[in-house]
């Protein structure tokens, strides 16, 4: 089993005719993902990598019976593209785009509270259920089907941790990059909840970073609601207070919460071992299995 996406997931790619959209559509198809349509205004009737393109997401969903979309639309238009997807009754929208203005996302977030669709991202690498489907830009070859769930705020750090697992022959049920922006759709807690409910997931890796309080909330959720063991990693222990490091999220406010100490402490209190190196995380997972 897996969470959120699998063999049956039928995917629309928004922005499929752009450079990124086209490249990753080919990659997703090659991985075996069921990419059934593209959506680009004015490009309806074209084809990209054999996938039919429609003018609107609505048309694409109607024509191809899609249930998920991946957004590769440039930041200035991505908020609108996510809105379009949310208003089309999809189950899942994965927003890859980096650099969407925060106030656009605040409005998206408001709509999100009014619909049943799940949003993943933005500014995230996507989601993969190894051997079944990947939606996003994750490098499929480093993943392997297995029994460990992974959820992370970061892209390349995810790949690092996954490599450490795969090298040891530990495969993954599903790996999810939730994104590093201040406002995101799916949170750690949402993903952990789904992993807890997934009978095939025997352990979970959670990779956090400094800034915000999502990891603290996740720790609380783990302590209260999870039987599946979780191992953690927190990036940014050496980040000086007040400095922004890449992700908008990765700012330490200097006020007690949001620091690496606070997050590691909260996770430890919830019984979650936190690795000092990515490899140590794999050690903890190996111990669990």
């Amino acid at each position: 089993m897996s969470i959120f996406v699998d063999d049956d997931t039928r995917v629309v790619v928004q922005g499929i005719t752009g450079g990124e959209g086209k490249f990753h559509t080919e990659q997703m198809l090659e991985y075996g993902t069921n990419v059934v349509a593209g959506a680009v205004p004015g490009k309806g009737g074209q084809e990209v990598a054999g996938v039919p393109v429609y003018d609107t997401v609505d048309e694409a969903v109607d024509a191809e019976d899609a249930d998920a979309s991946v957004v590769f639309v440039p930041p200035a238009f991505a908020g609108d593209a996510v809105f379009e997807a949310l208003d089309t009754d999809l189950d899942l929208v994965v927003a890859i785009t980096e650099g969407i203005p925060t106030q656009d996302m605040a409005k998206v977030n408001k709509r999100l509270s009014e619909v049943d669709t799940r949003l993943l991202g933005p500014n995230c690498p996507g989601i993969i259920t190894p051997g079944e489907a990947k939606l996003g830009i994750l490098p499929g070859n480093i993943f392997e089907a297995g029994n460990v769930g992974l959820v992370s705020r970061s892209g390349t750090l995810t790949y690092q941790v996954v490599s450490n697992l795969t090298e040891r022959g530990i495969g993954q049920t599903t790996a999810i990059g939730i994104g590093g922006d201040p406002i995101i759709g799916t949170s750690f807690v949402d993903a952990l909840e789904a992993f807890e409910a997934d009978t095939d997931t025997d352990a979970v890796v959670m990779c956090g970073e400094i800034g915000g309080e999502d990891e603290e909330q996740a720790a609380k959720f783990i302590a209260e609601h999870m039987d599946t063991p979780v191992a953690g990693f927190i990036a940014g222990r050496t980040a000086p207070p007040g400095k922004r490091m890449g992700h908008a999220g990765a700012i330490v406010s200097g006020s007690g919460t949001g620091t690496a100490e606070s997050k590691i402490g909260a996770l430890n209190d919830a019984g979650v071992p936190v690795g000092d190196t990515p490899n140590e995380v794999a050690d903890h997972i190996e111990d669990f299995l």
Partner: protein, 381 residues
Amino acid sequence: MRLHEYQAKQVFADAGIPTPDSRLASTVEEVMDAVDEIGYPAAIKAQVHVGGRGKAGGIEIATSEAEAREAAESILGMDLKGYTVDKVLVEAGVDFENELYVGITMDRGEGEPVAMVSTEGGVDIESVAEETPEKIAREHIDPAFGLHPYQARKVVFEAGIPKDVAMDVASILTTLYDLYESKDASEVEINPVMITGDREVVAADAVMNIDEDALFRQPELAEMEDEAAGDELEAKANEYGFDYVRLSGNVGIIGNGAGLVMTTLDLVDYYGGAPANFLDIGGGAKAERVANALEMVFADENVDSVVFNIFGGITRGDEVAKGINEALAQFDEIPKPVVVRLAGTNAAEGMEILNEDLVQVESTLEDAVQRAVKNAEEVTQ
């Protein structure tokens, strides 16, 4: 992007928020002309992006020509926490009875903006938030509707703002939200709003931070970006489009992806080294970007050793390796030892391509970091 006080005040004043009479000055003579027009007392305030300007000597109140000249001479050109002051704002002193705080920022947890009002203005609001949070009234804002006038009134009354100025403060808050939204701010703040003896409200300071990701649709504000601001290397990184933060150690770090670069920093620390910087070159690794990154890190005199950590992801490792070779070929001599670690797609092929005359190659993150730390130790010994 943070506006200077004088820029933010102009934006606020244009929107109708009362601000003291003021002039921008770059020379002592300009300061003297300004106080001539404005009169005494006048505040002379350094325009640099530094917290706690007042305590650090960046703000002086002058009550006479002599004091004004003295203040101008001491502040203009001074070094304020590493920033050289080349502009001051000369501003009419306000005779105030109370100092209030008003601000709007994004509440990440809720995913909506929040308006904050307090009677404890004029001081460090973070301390108030930590020590007496009940003294800050908060009102969340539905971003679809914006700040309703009633919400502005509600938070102002809840904060206990004196009744005779409450509606004026609510009106400032409404205007601030309009600016927050229309200018794509990530934060707007007035600390303090002064209440004068005549019970007028005046914005005595002005903070406005703009969402970098939205600057493309804020051309007027983008023009205000102060290119000379901050560290020289940080300015260069900005030019190259890198996420870069300069730190105090001697191990230079280059990588792709914020989380992975942070992790590399953490590992340098973990293995006993000290990071000299955070440098995220972002997706892909074209030769030019690699060269720019190396140039920047080499240019930092604190750096004794460099670790280059790329997880290729979709980008193939052989392409990255070619980029690194090309970039390094531009240097006659590699000034500081560079450890390269490639991972992900085609990483093995990439590592074979790398010119080991120029760089040291390691296949795991841990090994690469340990070697770079060791290289740095050898230099300093």
